[in-house]
Each structure stands twice: as C-alpha cells, then as structure tokens.
C-alpha cells in the first residue's frame, strides 16, 4: 500500500502533464481541476508543433545528441580498454582525473567555456555544444565501460589468439561483442544527459533556429504568462524520446549501469 502511494506521488506530476496536454483549453483553466481528459483533444499538440522553430530545434537536438554519442562511445571505449587491459605509467593518475573532473559543477565553467568558444567563433554553433557535452559525459562513460571490459576475462582473448587470431582480431571478435550491453548502458546515460541539458545550450546557442528542444521549451512562456495546454503538450513531446529510449533499452540496463560501476 505504501509502495503504491510512493509510486503515485512520484508519478503524479508526469500524469498531470500528460492529461493537461490532452485537455481542451476550457478544461485546463478551471478552479476545480478535471482529473481525466474527458473531452479528449490533440489541439495542444498541433499548436505546439506549429510554433516557430519546433522542427529546427528537434533537428538540432537530434544532431547534437547523435554526433556526440558516436564520438563519446568511440573515445570512451578506447580509454576503457586502455585502463582495463593495460598497466601503464600514469594509469592511476588518469583514473583519478576521471573521478575528479566529475566533481566540478558544469555551471561554474560556463563563463570560460563561453569566452573560449567565442574566441574560436563556435558560439551559436552546434559543434561547440557537441564538444562540451562530449567532455561532460566522457568521464562517467569511461569509468562505466572500464568496469564492463574488466569483467571480460582476458583469457578469452588469449585463447582466440592461440587459435590463430591476431590481437586486434581477437579483440573485435571476442571482447567487442561481449561488451555490447555496456555500450548500450553508457549510451543511454549519455543520451539522457545530452538531451536534457539546458544551461550550456541556453548560453551558447543564441539564435532561435540554432537552439535545442529544452531551450525551446523554456522560452515558451509569453509576456501574458504560460499557455499551459500547449506548454504541457510541448513538454510531453520533449520528454517522450528520453523515456521511450530508456524503456526500449531497459533490459540491457538490468544491472548494467551498477554492475559496470560497482565491480570496477
């Protein structure tokens, strides 16, 4: 019973967003709230999608997250292999750096990041944001992937090499497929971080056609106050991809993130 109560309290705000999005305007602004979207309408969604820059900003969000994820998976995988499979001078320093940089709040770095990217003409441009997101997600992704790679016995690779594989061949035939769930788990993490990020995109991307969905969403409020129906529809649309992506790949997560992180 208490468990259900917890679930209800946690989920209520999200429920309220979704049903507000499906209500016609006159049912939203009522003193006594309507608990179900009884006359059901898609007008709020049509309104939100028709607003300026929606499609541009969807595209920007997708490009930023997509490019960033490809780069991040590649780079973090290389570093994960290096730290899980090789002993080398500076390895511990590298690991300490990975842990340490996660403690620096991104909000504190906005000013120098802005000035730095301004110096090379990358403000109001997607590559600047991609680079920042890449740096933000890398430490966690390296650390998590390192756990996954370390959990695959090196002997598997070695026996493949005895059977005639090259080192590179053994790696791509044995280790790479086994680390798949780890790649998915870290990709989910990177996706959520980048898709949900607000302040960097808000500061760096100034023209409306260059912004991301979260910035678009936060700029929804007009001088007359928010229009709740379209805003809740837009919020639903912004949150949808993350939740869908998450639920779709959740089975890979079964113990994925924690297993990778806890077992070092």
């Amino acid at each position: 019973m208490t468990g259900i109560a917890v679930a209800v309290v946690m989920l209520f705000p999200i429920y309220w967003m979704v049903i507000t999005a499906f209500k016609p305007g006159r049912d939203i602004l009522t003193l006594e709230p309507k608990w179900f979207p009884a006359p059901f309408t898609l007008d709020n969604f049509k309104d939100a999608i028709a607003r300026p820059y929606f499609l541009e900003d969807v595209r920007n969000s997708l490009v930023i997250v997509g490019v960033m994820l490809v780069l991040a998976l590649l780079i973090s995988f290389l570093a994960a292999v290096a730290t899980a499979r090789f002993g080398f001078r500076g390895r511990n320093a590298f690991l300490v750096m990975i842990i340490g940089v996660q403690m620096v709040p991104l909000n504190a770095l906005i000013i120098p990041l802005y000035l730095m990217l301004d110096g090379v003409g990358q403000t109001d441009a997607l590559p600047g944001v991609i680079a920042v997101y890449l740096a933000v997600v890398l430490p966690f992704m390296i650390w998590t992937l390192r756990g996954f790679v370390a959990n695959i016995p090196a002997e598997l690779e070695e026996s493949a090499m005895i059977d005639g594989c090259t080192r590179v061949g053994a790696f791509f035939r044995i280790t790479f497929p086994l680390v798949g769930p780890g790649l998915v788990a870290t990709a989910i993490f990177g996706f959520i971080q980048a898709w949900n990020e607000y302040i960097i995109a808000y500061v760096l991307l100034s023209s409306p056609g260059n912004q991301t969905l979260t910035v678009w969403l936060a700029s929804f409020t007009t001088n007359h106050g928010p229009e709740w129906g379209p805003l809740m529809a837009a919020a639903t649309l912004t949150g949808l991809p993350v939740v869908a992506f998450f639920l779709l790949l959740q089975r890979y997560l079964a113990g994925g993130l924690t297993a990778g992180a806890v077992k070092g």
Partner: protein, 314 residues
C-alpha cells in the same frame, strides 16, 4: 553529471613487457579522452581562475583582453551583502535538500525490500520515469501545478483543509518559494539516490541481518548497526553528489521564476550567471564561480577522505 559508485582500485594492472609499440598502445588509446577532458573541462577551469583575477567587462570581451586587477574582484565580492545572503541561502537550501533526499530515498529503498515483486516493479518504473524526464520538463510541470490561479496544489491543499490556498501565490514570500524549490529538487533527486541505495541494500548479506535478529536486535537496531555501516560508502557518494547538485543548482529556480528571478531567488550559479551574462561583469562572475568551486572542493575532499577511511577499515 553522473558518477561511478566505487573508489578507483589503485593497484596497478599486471604489466606485460613487450615491444615498444605495445607499450605505447595504451597511451594512444587514452590520448583522445585526455585531449577532450583536458581541453574542455580542465583548461576552462584554469581559465576561470585566471579570469577571476581580471576586470573583464564588455570592452574587454570585444578586445579579448582583460585588465589584471589581482584580488580586487574577491575583495568586492566578499564585502557584498547580496553575496553573503546568496551563500547563506544556498547553504540552507542545500542542507534541507540533501537531508530530505537521503532520508526519503533510504526509506523508499527499505520499503522496496519488503514489498511484493509486482509493487517493486511498479515503484522502480515510476522512479525511472521521473529520472529520465528532462529537468526543464519537470520544472514546467511543477510551475503549472503551483500556479496561483488554476494550480492543482492550491486546490488540493484547500480541499484537504490545510488552509485557504485559493489564489495563493507561492513565490510572493521567498521562504515559501524556496520551500517549493526544495520540493522540486528533492522530487527530482529521489530516483537516482533511491536506486543507488537500493542496489546497496541488496548487497547486505541476509545472514548478517538474521544473526542480528537472533541476538535480539530490533528493526531499527538492525538498520543502525548492520545495514547503515555497510552502506556507508553509498551514503557518502549520494550525499556528496546531492551536495554538488543542490549547491550548484541553476535550472529549477531560473526556469520556475520565468527566467527573471528576483535577487531573493538567486542561487550562487544564478548570481554568477547574472553578473557575467546579465551585466557583462565576467571577472566578477568568474570570481563567484571560483568561490562556488572552492566550497564544493572542500565538500569533495571531505568525501574522498571519508571514503578512503572506509576503504582502509574494510
């Protein structure tokens, strides 16, 4: 930012002597990460400190050249009464959020251990749902729920006879406004902390708890003397991360107050942002950010020290 849950294992991996190419390989593999993290996190951190020692306004921004003023910015900020208020408020807010987050999350995690499997799946799904929802989206929802005219919270509180909340504006009184911010921040932080603590609870051996029960320990005693000590590393990381997130909070107050928060609702991050991007005092803004980082470095240092202590005991 997410963070791994354990401390690094610092013993070196076995080194196999090999040809030079093999020995250089790992360096080649970590070079891209070092370049990205160094260039986009470490370098700006150094630049932040350097900026905080300069007068850097609009003119300097155009010239790309600051004017060196040594510690003037720090002197100006440390006597600024608004800065003291902001620091005090941020600390109080952080304390309230961290305590509530950790206590509530622990209670929910303990509850998850005792409920039926179906209920556990439902609660877990709810937590994951909340966790995956973008912060900006959740802030918009809470803004709507706390709306003074048609917000569902005012209606519910009035119906439940907590008081007359018809047309009650929560943000007129900063104390109540900050209360709302605590609710929003804690609600958003509970999923991560609960799932982390729950994962830790699963690793507490049942035999230990059984043995304690046989020895006559009650529920609270079993938690206090068996579970809690075993979960100490997890509580430490959860507390440390929550502190970093709540102390550096920006999105929630900024968006909840329609991107124009009055100085009553400044957090350190908002104050730093306002000084730099609002009134083009990038040097002063950097100084505030440096002070924020210093506070967090102290917190992190305490956390690392405690973690190492725990690691030594085990």
């Amino acid at each position: 930012m997410g963070v791994a849950i354990t401390t690094p294992d610092l013993e070196p991996a076995p080194t196999r002597p090999g040809p030079l190419r093999t020995r250089l390989l790992p360096y080649g593999l970590v070079t891209p990460s070092v370049a990205v993290i160094g260039g986009i996190l470490a370098f700006p951190l150094g630049m932040l400190v350097w900026l905080s020692l300069q007068h850097y306004g609009l003119r300097e921004l155009i010239a790309h050249q600051g004017e060196w003023v040594w510690l003037d910015n720090y002197r100006a900020i440390l006597v600024d009464p608004l800065f003291r208020q902001v620091i005090f408020r941020s600390l109080a807010f952080t304390f309230a959020c961290v305590v509530l987050t950790v206590v509530l999350s622990t209670l929910i995690a303990l509850l998850l251990l005792r409920v039926r499997r179906a209920v556990r799946v439902i609660v877990m799904s709810a937590l994951v749902f909340v966790w995956a929802t973008p912060v900006i989206v959740t802030v918009d929802i809470w803004q709507w729920m706390f709306d003074y005219e048609f917000g569902v919270i005012n209606y519910l509180l009035t119906q439940l006879h907590v008081g007359n909340f018809i047309h009650h504006n929560w943000f007129d009184n900063p104390l109540q406004g900050w209360g709302v911010l605590v609710v929003v921040a804690v609600w958003g932080a509970i999923p991560f902390v609960t799932i982390t603590v729950f994962a830790g609870l699963l690793q507490v051996p049942g035999e230990l708890l059984d043995a304690a029960q046989v020895d006559g320990a009650g529920g609270w005693q079993r938690f206090r003397f068996v579970t809690a000590p075993m979960l100490k590393p997890i509580f430490l990381i959860a507390t440390c991360l929550s502190t970093i997130w709540d102390f550096g909070i920006f999105n929630q107050p900024y968006v909840l107050l329609n991107q124009r928060p009055s100085s009553d609702y400044y957090t350190i991050a908002i104050y730093s942002y306002r000084e730099s991007f609002g009134v083009s005092q990038y040097g002063l803004g950097a100084t505030i950010a440096v002070l924020m980082v210093i506070v967090l470095v102290v917190v992190t240092f305490l956390y690392v020290r405690e973690t190492l202590k725990v690691a030594e005991i085990q």
